[in-house]
């Protein structure tokens, strides 16, 4: 089931009576049968968007379509969605079975069928043995899976997950991530989930949607978005460690940071922001490159070494005081205090104008 949002806007009135556009003229189409991650920092409007799709909130402007169906004015229960809440919202007084059964009871599904579907669903999420436990007797991951089972048991058109992994510990998070992906694959249901964790989003989503201030910044397959960020925000938001940003300038088709030549370009002369992924640095062992720094700290984890460089910044120059990271091969044996010359991989470098727009 394809989900289409047209000009979707949600305005909240804040405590000091200001209008806050939580979702601002969003046009978005979520393709059928895909697992989509809605990604962004907190307050970016991603949860609001999810709740608008669910119908728990009502948009001020715009329409939502599920396939051909306009659901804009439909109450949530009519939309045919399944929603998994951040803290699962399992009814504490009901057993797992009762929790999963609850939507079916409300839909007046035949009792025998409902029972079967409940068991089937419990098995799907791997909780067949725990049907008679109360939520508080389950671990976080198990609760999560009950919530998913409850959302899916009524065979919704769309599955929505709100920060599904945020309440789990690191190990469970990895495990559950896979689980969600598996369940989604098996059921083939259009799934939208919200997260602020880009790694999580990138690891399981078919496509990700990056949001900021209620506006969609970019949408696409995770790796594609990572490799081709549309703007500085997306570039900064995706990737750990974060992308390094230098203030630079283009002069005569050459890119300079503080008189240090970094690379060449076809773009006209102008001041620019240069984003370089940490893995985009190549150590110039011949020390020909202009782009050189004294290393402040070296962290080696496994085969990678992270060089941490603190640039004091120079007044009047282009280099602000920044700390940047470069990931290089551990075999290079660089120590703190060494001067290192860098070359930059062109595909790992992105140029933006001063507003943060990608320059092409």
């Amino acid at each position: 089931m394809e989900i289409k949002m047209l000009d979707l806007t949600k305005i909240f009135i804040s405590k000091d009576k200001r209008e806050v556009h939580a979702v601002d003229h969003v046009d978005l189409t979520i393709p059928s049968g895909k697992l989509i991650g809605l990604l962004g920092p907190s307050g970016c409007g991603k949860s609001t968007t999810l709740y608008l799709i669910a119908g728990l909130l009502r948009q001020n402007v715009g329409q939502i379509y599920f396939g051909e169906d306009e659901v804009s004015d439909m109450p949530p229960e009519k939309r045919g969605i399944g929603l998994v809440f951040q803290n699962y919202a399992l009814y504490p007084h009901m057993t797992v079975r009762e929790n999963i059964l609850f939507p079916l009871e409300n839909l007046k599904v035949d009792k025998v069928e409902a029972k079967e579907r409940t068991i089937e669903m419990a098995n799907l999420v791997g909780l067949g043995e725990m049907l008679d436990r109360k939520p508080k007797e389950l671990s976080g991951g198990q609760q999560q899976r009950v919530a998913i089972a409850r959302a899916l048991v009524k065979k919704p058109r769309v599955l929505l997950l709100d920060e599904p992994l945020s309440n789990l510990d690191a190990r469970l998070r990895l495990q559950t991530r896979e689980e969600i992906k598996r369940i989604q694959r098996e059921t083939g249901i259009t799934t939208v989930f919200v997260t602020h964790d880009q790694e999580e989003a990138m690891s399981i989503s078919d496509e990700i949607v990056v949001m900021k201030d209620g506006v969609i910044q970019q949408m696409g397959e995770p790796q594609h978005v990572y490799d081709h960020p549309q703007n500085l925000f997306v570039a900064q938001f995706l990737g750990t460690p974060q992308i390094n940003v230098f203030n630079g300038v283009i002069k005569n088709k050459k890119i300079f940071v503080n008189d240090m030549l970094i690379s060449k370009t076809d773009l006209p002369d102008q001041p620019v922001k240069i984003g370089v992924r940490p893995e985009g640095f190549i150590v110039d062992l011949e020390k020909k490159s202009d782009f050189k720094f004294e290393i402040d700290l070296v962290e080696t984890i496994g085969r990678d070494t992270t060089l941490i460089i603190e640039v004091p910044g120079n007044e009047g120059g282009l280099l602000d005081k920044i700390t940047f990271k470069a990931i290089v091969d551990a075999s290079l044996k660089i120590k703190a205090g060494d001067w290192v010359h860098f070359n930059v991989k062109p595909e790992k470098m992105h140029l933006f104008d001063l507003e943060g727009k990608l320059l092409k």
Binding site: F66, M74, K78, R79, K155, R157, T187
Partner: protein, 310 residues
């Protein structure tokens, strides 16, 4: 997959409006039911005896027909004799006493309730649950069976001396027996029990005394409930009747309810001037309402945050 295929319902909005209308009418009707007795009280206070007994009842009175006299009479002064210049019905004296008693009782009750609730919720002493059980049991006995016993106790303490009872004696007698409240102890204990044990252990590890823990952790956390208790308790003095009448020797030590009951019944014919009685009832209620409206936000916030869970 999509089993639930529902066509867009235009009637959804209409339905929502309908449900809102229903909800508001339900609340409105109940609000009306709640308010009617108050309206009736004020209405009656503006009626003469004859108007009260009119058939069918008079539902509205023109301002020109208001029997303001009912109110004025409450503030009339004695014309002659040794009490000349003093009010006929010592409304303000009763009011003052009631407020004082209310404050003292509430302060006392709050303190004892906090201590008791703390003891029963947190401290481990031998027979704690048994003692608590007995305390709960006392709720199941009508309080006035205690009157004679308590009267004798008050007398033993020397607070009831016909010739020499001072105002402070009277205050002690009126307040001390009501400085504990089983009901509120029960109520606050529930809140205290919700505060996680970890906090207590953490405090113990930090070497905090029980008392300091109560003062610094429990009370601030349970503050909304305590505020609620203070508010609810302070209303009590407004209805107290038999006990204040029993343990005070002088009229000027008594409380508003004592004034309300006796003052408007003619001792000869046994008739009650309902108009005047309602007028005084309205006047007695008024300060409570004023306090309530002034502090409405705080009260409601306190109450709504008190979070009483099992």
């Amino acid at each position: 997959m999509a089993e639930i295929f529902v066509k867009n319902e235009k009637s959804y909005k209409a339905k929502k409006i309908l449900s809102n209308v229903l909800t508001y009418s339900f609340l409105g009707v109940i609000a009306l039911i709640v308010l009617v007795p108050f309206y009736w009280m004020i209405l009656t206070s503006l009626k003469s005896t004859e108007m009260i007994e009119a058939i069918p009842p008079i539902l509205f009175i023109k301002p020109s027909d208001w029997q303001i006299w009912n109110y004025k009479a409450l503030f009339e002064l004695v014309q002659s004799g040794p009490r000349a210049g003093q009010p006929l019905f010592p409304f303000f004296t009763y009011m003052k006493n009631t407020i004082i008693v209310s404050i003292i009782t509430t302060a006392g009750t709050t303190i004892t309730t906090i201590l008791a609730a703390f003891a029963f919720a947190r401290l481990n002493f031998k027979g704690r649950d048994t003692v608590f059980a007995i305390i709960i049991a006392t709720m199941m006995i009508p309080g006035e069976i205690f009157i004679l016993t308590n009267f004798l106790t008050i007398n033993k303490f020397g607070w009831y001396d016909l010739m020499n009872q001072t105002f402070s004696d009277a205050l002690l007698a009126m307040t001390i027996p009501f400085m504990t409240s089983v009901f509120y102890t029960f109520y606050l204990r529930q809140t205290f029990k919700q505060i996680p044990n970890e906090l207590y252990y953490a405090a113990k590890v930090d070497g905090t005394t029980d008392f300091k823990y109560l003062l610094k952790i429990m009370i601030p956390v349970a503050m909304p409930t305590i505020v609620t208790i203070i508010i609810l308790n302070s209303m009590g003095a407004w209805s107290a009747y038999i006990w204040p009448a029993m343990v005070t020797t002088k009229d000027q030590y008594r409380l508003v309810s004592n004034g309300l009951r006796g003052a408007f019944t003619d001792s000869g014919s046994g008739r009650t001037d309902y108009g005047q009685q309602m007028a005084s009832a309205a006047l007695v209620t008024a300060p409570l309402l004023v306090v309530f409206f002034v502090f409405r936000k705080q009260i409601m916030r306190g109450v709504s945050r008190s979070g009483i869970k099992g």
